[in-house]
């Protein structure tokens, strides 16, 4: 149905700090790649829908990230901005394979859907 899938390996899980993030640039696209405290990863567009704050610099609380500029709270599972603010950022699915490689998937279909 959709062959616009591209996956890239960005590193090993051990190279990432928990509740911290790295910026990932691919062409014009900039993502914030987070490692949560349970060891899983999330990737979202590195730009808050409010004023474009770099989410990679935000504070991570469970699967939420707070934008460093004005403290908007974003659910990294679905990209939705939490009330009372409104908006959405694109999400991308991330896998960790059996040897610990972190793989980010770029897929127009899953970009906005839940990542688990």
């Amino acid at each position: 149905m959709n062959d616009m899938v591209s996956s890239i390996t960005v590193g090993h899980a051990s190279e990432f700090m928990e509740r911290r993030s790295r910026v990932l640039r691919i062409g014009d696209l900039e993502l914030a790649l987070f490692k949560l405290s349970d060891g899983s990863f999330r990737a979202v567009e590195n730009s808050c829908p409010h004023k474009g704050g770099k989410l990679a610099d935000g504070m991570v609380c469970d699967h939420h990230v707070y934008c460093p500029l004005h403290d908007w709270k974003i659910d990294m599972n679905d990209g939705k901005v939490q009330a009372p603010d409104e908006g959405c950022v694109a999400t991308f699915s991330v896998d960790v394979d059996e040897v610990g490689n972190v793989i980010v998937h770029f897929n127009a279909n899953t970009a906005r859907s839940k990542v688990s």
Binding site: M4, V5, S6, I8, V10, G11, E15, M17, E18, R19, R20, R22, V23, L24, R25, I26, G27, D28, L29, E30, L31, L33, S37, E45, K51, G52, G53, K54, D57, G58, M59, V60, C61, D62, Y66, P68, L69, D71, K73, A90, F92, V104, F106, N107, A108, A111, R112
Partner: protein, 816 residues
């Protein structure tokens, strides 16, 4: 499914639909047709929008999704032009014909425009909808002078809004006193004086004659021959029910659309609610009665029995900030009534309560209207208050014998369907449900859940009373506000627990104190990290991931995500070598802006995140901590080394202080200064701690602030030696660290705990030494963060971006 069509998309109508959906969610296929291009918004909040207290977005009551989610077909910006009663259809101006089984007229009212010659000129408007608001705001950008015709509720709110928009406003009123339908002459006079004080002009007992001007309005003439200039005329003389369509359709119309106790018109399957309906000869223009009507009609159409609508007692509040006016019921003296009143011209307070046969029938209040909802409940309940009249006026502080009627008693006595929040039509029952079933435990939660107290806020005391009476009289307690939304524990409780149970990580604190969010939020995480480090400097390992971006990246984030870099320059004293190095770095990294700061430092602004570590490396200077909750700078004057007025070496003192206390974690930022003489060139008396040299010693001033709220520092102590300055400073800072809330500046903290408390705590040398020991312990554990990051590859890596192959596919997939 039966088809329900409603003409009108305003507050009364939509509230009726909301209540109907609750009672009978699947009974009707609902269509709403509205003339305005907006979803339902809170018309009575328009004055707040003008006043700049709310945005258009804030006053939307039902957003587009609400209609969609409830399966309602909504046609906005369309007006129904024909109702075919026999055929059971309505037709709109865009040619849409919609069949109905039940039809509801919720057409509201139209502003009454005085038929003055020239009323069709540009710049003559009403104050009724969002469009009028927008016109007023636009006009204020270009023009200066406004006239509001009408000194009633609406006119005064419009006038206040125009004042806020920086226009000169004159209010024209035909009567001799303002708001004559809601106030008695005494209250009205007090109101006028207050509004004049705010800058409103009044032209009383003036009859408008003609609007003059070319295409656009230029002024207004009066019957007495006088003229007033104007660039904008707002007519707020009243509203009249919008009955044209009903009349044309053959429905019985008097002043409004005539309805019975069940809101039914002369045609059985056609109903009417709101400002367009006339019930028992009354047409209501305030929002609370309209909600009551909506509730009755919802029951009727849901097939639920009710006693029908019995009419409403009215209460009014003026929504002008700083002006408290309340009136309800029959407040004018009349044969058979007795009034109790107080008038206090010193404080601008006036209260009058009117009794008839021992019952409260009306009230007017100015200045202090807190008791408004309590009095209003008494009017509605019709309770016999014979012999207690004075208590009712003076409340529990009246000192009279007998049990005063408390708000909580009133709340308990209220009937379930009584409306508590007039602005949003919230009944007591709805609030109680929010408390008992949805677990709301604070005014804020009740507001979020039900909208009660969310608009004018006048019912807040009553909502609080209902909360207390529902939670139970025995365990009535103020709902505790925790340090953030994740907990109900206060700062003191959290710190005490950290000490007692020797908690050393944020995770432990959240677990032990049962945080509602497993990993906290952006408010509590940095706070806990601070408290842990303050209590257990050795045992607690600082959590970078619990720090705000600036303290994690050790630079100051800017609006575009770049950072600013400020190297440490002790006391503001630099060298040619350092300046050269800073200049080289600025050139090498194309730093967009180099600026001298207010704290005597050099700021390199616009450094990219990836460049931060190399910039630090090349600077080879320690972090200036211009970004953290920590000692920022010690500002100094040149002192007696160069200045002919200097009495002490301010530079040496300042540099010593900065070297001793740099890198200290504090509840909020701390700024210091040292001045070499009382001329105080270093502005030491608006600092968190400022030292001023005097002949033979030093003064230590504390808790000053030069920021948002300027506060002159208080003199803490005078000392003789530099050692004493350091000792007092250390003790003071540590006492602040141990007792202030995270995020609390010394100026706020000192006002909260009291200067005397601080002085007492630091009075004895032995106590000061204990504080100094503790602060030195904490200081001994700090390291320069820039160096730490440069020397640790894991830490410095976090500043670099990862890059992937430049794949067109991937990039394309990311575009949404």
């Amino acid at each position: 499914m039966k088809k329900l069509v409603m003409i009108g998309n305003g507050m009364a109508g939509v509230s009726f639909v909301e209540q109907l959906l609750k009672l009978a969610p699947n009974r009707y296929e609902i269509t709403i047709i509205g003339s305005e291009p907006h979803p339902n918004y809170n018309r009575i909040m328009l004055s707040s929008v003008l006043a700049g207290e709310a945005t258009m977005q804030d006053i939307i009551l039902n957003n587009w999704d609400w209609y969609k989610d409830n399966g309602i077909t909504l046609h906005t910006a369309q007006t129904v032009t024909r109702v075919d009663i026999d055929g059971g259809t309505v037709t709109t101006d865009s040619g849409l014909t919609i069949p109905y089984n039940e039809l509801v007229f919720a057409t509201g009212s139209v502003p009454f425009m005085l038929p003055l010659p020239g009323a069709d000129k540009e710049g003559v408007i009403a104050f009724r909808d969002i469009n009028d608001c927008e016109t007023m705001m636009k006009t204020a950008e270009k023009y200066r002078k406004a006239i509001v015709i009408g000194g009633g509720l609406l006119g005064l709110e419009a006038a206040r809004g125009l004042l806020n928009l920086n226009m000169e406003v004159s209010v024209v009123h035909v009567m001799s006193y303002l708001m004559e339908r809601q106030l008695d002459p005494t209250a009205s006079q007090m109101l006028r004086e207050e509004l004049e004080r705010q800058g409103m002009k009044f032209l009383m007992e003036k009859q408008s004659d003609q609007i003059i001007g070319e295409e656009r309005v230029q002024g207004l003439t009066f019957k007495d021959g006088t003229v007033e200039e104007a660039d904008l005329i707002v007519m707020a003389v009243g509203i009249r029910p919008n009955v044209q369509l009903a009349k044309e359709s053959g429905i019985e119309v008097n002043r409004g659309i005539v309805v019975n106790d069940f809101l039914q018109t002369s045609v059985p399957n056609i109903h009417s609610v709101g400002e367009c309906a006339e019930h028992r000869g009354n047409v209501y223009g305030l929002v609370a009665p309209l909600y009551e009507q909506g509730a009755v009609l919802a029951k009727k159409l849901a097939g639920v029995e009710s006693a029908g609508y019995q009419g409403s007692v009215l209460s009014t509040k003026l929504k002008i900030s700083g002006v408290n006016v309340f009136s309800a019921g029959s407040f004018m003296d009349a044969p058979g009534t007795k009034a109790v009143r107080v008038q206090d011209d010193l404080d601008g307070i006036y209260k009058k309560i009117v009794f008839e046969n021992g019952k409260v029938v009306g009230a007017v209040m100015f200045g202090d209207t807190i008791e408004g909802s309590r009095i209003f409940s008494l009017i509605r309940s019709g309770e016999d208050c014979s012999g207690r009249e004075k208590e009712i006026l003076f409340g529990s502080s009246g000192g009279a014998a007998g049990k005063p009627i408390s708000l909580t008693d009133m709340a308990a006595a209220m009937s379930d369907d009584e409306i508590v929040c007039g602005c949003n039509g919230v009944t007591k029952e709805t609030i109680v449900e929010a408390i008992t079933e949805k677990g709301c435990v604070s005014i804020g939660e009740i507001k979020a859940c039900t909208k009660a107290s969310g608009s004018c806020g006048g019912c807040k005391p009553m909502v609080e009373a209902i909360l207390q009476s529902t939670v139970g009289a025995d365990n009535v307690k103020k709902v505790k506000e925790g340090i953030c939304g994740c907990t109900t524990h206060s700062r003191e409780e959290v710190v005490e627990m950290i000490k007692q149970m020797k908690l050393t990580t944020t995770k432990e604190v959240m677990h032990v104190l049962e945080w509602s969010n497993p990993e906290g939020c952006s408010k509590c995480r940095p706070a806990l990290n601070y408290y842990l480090g303050m209590v257990w400097p050795v045992e607690h390992e600082d959590e970078a991931d619990s720090r705000f971006v600036n303290e994690r990246n050790h630079a100051n984030i800017q609006k575009d995500g770049a950072f600013s870099v400020v190297p440490r320059i002790y006391g503001g004293v630099t060298t040619p070598e350092d300046l050269k190095r800073i200049a080289d770095v600025a050139q090498k990294y194309d730093v967009p802006l180099v600026k001298i700061t207010g704290g005597q430092r050099i700021d390199l602004l616009g450094v990219k995140k990836e460049d931060l570590t190399s910039v630090w490396q090349d600077l080879g200077m320690p972090s200036g901590y211009a970004y953290g909750k920590t000692l920022r700078t010690v500002k100094t004057c040149v002192g007696n080394t160069f200045c002919r007025f200097g009495t002490q070496d301010a530079i040496k003192m300042g540099v010593e202080m900065e070297k001793k206390f740099e890198r200290l974690n504090t509840p909020h930022k701390v700024k210091l200064a040292v001045s070499g003489c009382p001329r105080n060139c270093a502005e030491a008396t608006i600092k968190d701690l400022g030292v001023v040299a005097i002949d033979g010693g030093w003064e230590i001033h504390v808790a000053g602030n030069g920021g948002t709220k300027v506060r002159a520092a208080d003199l803490l102590v005078k000392v003789r030696t530099e050692e004493e300055v350091l000792e007092w400073t250390g003790a003071y800072l540590q006492y602040y660290r141990e007792t202030a809330s995270f995020g609390e500046r010394t100026s706020e903290w000192s006002v909260r705990v009291g200067l005397d408390t601080i002085k007492k705590a630091l009075d004895r040398k032995v106590d000061r030494e204990a504080y100094v020991n503790r602060i030195e312990k904490s200081l001994s554990l700090t390291k320069d963060p820039w160096r730490q990051i440069i020397e640790n590859e894991d830490l410095s890596k976090a500043f670099d971006a990862l890059t992937g192959p430049i794949g067109t596919e991937a990039a394309a997939a990311g575009e949404h």
